[in-house]
Amino acid sequence: MAQKITPKKTPIAEQDPIVRGKNFDEVCLGYSLEEARLEAARCLQCKTAPCIGGCPVAINIPGFIKALADGDLPKAWEVLSDATALPAVCGRVCPQETQCEGVCTVGKIKGKEPVAIGKLERFVADWKAAQPEEPVTPPAQDKGKVAVIGSGPAGLTVAGDLAKMGYKVTVFEALHEPGGVLMYGIPEFRLPKEIVRREIGNIRKLGVDVEVNSVVGRTLSMEEIRSSFDAVFIGTGAGTPHFMRLPGTNLNGVFSASEYLTRINLMHAYQFPDYDTPTRKSKKVVVFGGGNVAMDAARSALRLGADEVTIVYRRSVEELPARIEEYHHAVEEGIVFNFLTNPVEYIGDEKGYLKAVRCIRMKLGEPDASGRRRPIPIEGSEFVIEADTAVEAIGQGSNKVLLNAFPELKLNRWGYIDADEKTGETNLPGVYAGGDIVTGAATVILAMGVGRDAARSIDAYIQGKKQA
């Protein structure tokens, strides 16, 4: 294709930072059809298609972009949905800059930005959702029965793929609504919950049953499940918050990011008292951590009406693990960043409420096991930040509810399930696992990638057993 490629991505509409800092509506407004086709035309349709290899679920990216550029949206949807059950989600929350877009051939040309693959994926998925519903005939489900524990990205992918292959799948979810981290973790302004519900609805239309309020290990035992299904996939997520265990951790106003975000997202605390669950009315909020979860918590606090929101991160801006887009959005909205800083103590008032956090300045030393330079406290540099709310977004450990009730399952040295990265196989035949409960906290798309692989190995296992 002899075409002139514009150096920059086609600009996309976003809510104004001042306006969006006061609402929970989505920040990014998406492309129009014209904009999307313009952007699709920036794709070279290169033969090597490194983008496909950069995608954990191997979407035929040039394929769907070609169809979009040609204006054949039904075809674009077909190509996309062949590889992913959650395109509207992935288009919004994947770290494309380190995956498909990170290896895009256009992006390798000096002075040019890669094709906005994520925004195009989202466009096609949103287009499809706006079309009149077509009746879906669920595929025959006579190949076997599979139980999926946990309805986050990993579990939903396994469920969708196996249903398409002809299995009867039942998903067990502990909370009252399916979606896992997509529902309780990622805020409305990044991923509207209607979109998550819609994509789960599509998976249900394939004949997948979802049973909410079901904690496996408590509501049902693993034995009950193993005796009634041909195979089991465990995708329960990285489920228990770490606390830094500083003095004063149990003061009122100190939260784990999991609690802070669950109250807001799953329980709709931002709509209190229309919804029953409240959260703290904060004036000054400090969030500890540098990942996407820290950005989400800080930006949520701002939208709840806090006067000042600060992110405290022990390393520098270069080491920030958050997606660059999320960091930029946070800065635009007025979140204050305090880099090379770490908290040492929470200070409370006489009634047990947080009033300040004592912090210490850090400097970077030699690289540690993670390859990042290790932060070291600078002696005598302590100072106090006033705060009525503190949110610890420093990661999670494995949730033990299911694991304790199922001691036969082998764990790794970090307490996560010891499962094969490629196949999801555990030490027990017919029991598979994937997502954060295997890797520790990672991304939506990595969990989906493992889900796809696990679905294939579960299929092979069940068919092999039948032939034996």
Binding site: R218, T240, P241, F243, G253, F272, P273, P278, V401
Partner: protein, 277 residues
């Protein structure tokens, strides 16, 4: 699902209901709890299960109207349903034959004490029970507890029944007569648990208390229910709900229980004006 099968007012503002929840009924044990919601916009609240009917697929919940959710529950009739019931959650009580056990219950906490007491009796313990309340009609489940106890003492603040005084007075009476108690379970209002646990410590009786802090998910995912026990941070939902009563940081626990007082009031008043109560 989660249909209310029977409903009885057993004391002012205290209701005794049986709810259809077959899986909870099949797998639940004494000491465990459920997290429930009454509506799509409702809050998730933890309530202890007072009894299980495994064959009938039902669980028994006894609750006191204290806020919006419990008021909404009290307005449901037989045939109506709860929106969500998740359970059984938390660790079951450790039931074994210890010799003589002391069961101390107060207020609606007696409902949580009863299933444990029943199992301890079945396990062969000599069970001495103290039930306390402000006044006679607030001391619930007397007959049922008596049926599984070797001895039952009732205390009331106003002297309308049993010993005039509080549960710690009855504990003192037992100590003075030289009763050798291997372990106590103390479940009731926080202030009662605090003083009864202090009394147990003074008398050298190891004790469990069952903590019911504010929870969100109830499965160890959020850490809202954290408590300090013997200087360690524990999650009541997955590490409890029973903890060493000698080691609980009660003041912190009470502060944390009160952190949404203002919002709880707003929510309750809004509901009352909507339903005209």
């Amino acid at each position: 699902m989660y249909k209310i099968l029977s409903k009885r007012l057993i004391a002012p503002k205290e209701y005794d209901i049986w709810v259809e929840a077959p899986r909870v009924a099949r797998n639940g044990k004494a000491g465990q709890f459920v997290v429930l919601r009454t509506s799509e916009k409702g809050e998730r609240i933890p309530l202890t299960v007072a009894d299980y009917d495994r064959e009938g697929g039902r669980i028994r919940i006894i609750f006191q109207v204290v806020g919006k959710t419990t008021m909404a529950m009290s307005r449901l009739d037989v045939g109506d349903s709860l929106h969500d019931v998740l359970g059984p959650l938390g660790n079951p009580s450790e039931i074994e034959n210890l010799g003589t056990v002391l069961m101390v219950g107060g207020g609606v906490g007696i409902a949580a004490l009863y299933p444990i007491l029943k199992e301890l009796k079945k396990a062969g313990n000599k069970v001495i029970t103290i039930l306390g309340g402000r006044t006679s009609e607030l001391v619930i489940l007397k007959e049922e507890c008596a049926a599984c106890s070797d001895e039952l003492l009732v205390t009331t603040d106003d002297g309308s029944e049993g010993i005039r005084g509080v549960v710690t007075d009855a504990m003192q009476i037992l100590a003075e007569r030289g009763e050798k108690i291997a372990r106590a379970w103390i479940i009731g209002p926080t202030i009662m648990m605090k003083f009864a646990a202090l009394k147990a410590k003074e008398l050298g009786i190891p004790c469990w208390v069952s903590l019911n802090p504010i929870m969100v998910d109830g499965t160890g995912m959020c850490g809202c229910c954290r408590v300090t026990v013997n200087d360690e941070i524990r999650f009541a939902c997955v590490d409890g709900p029973e903890f060493d009563g000698w080691g609980v940081n009660w003041n912190e626990f009470m502060n944390r229980m009160g952190q949404y007082k203002d919002e709880e009031k707003i929510s309750l008043e809004k509901f009352q004006s909507e339903v005209g109560e």
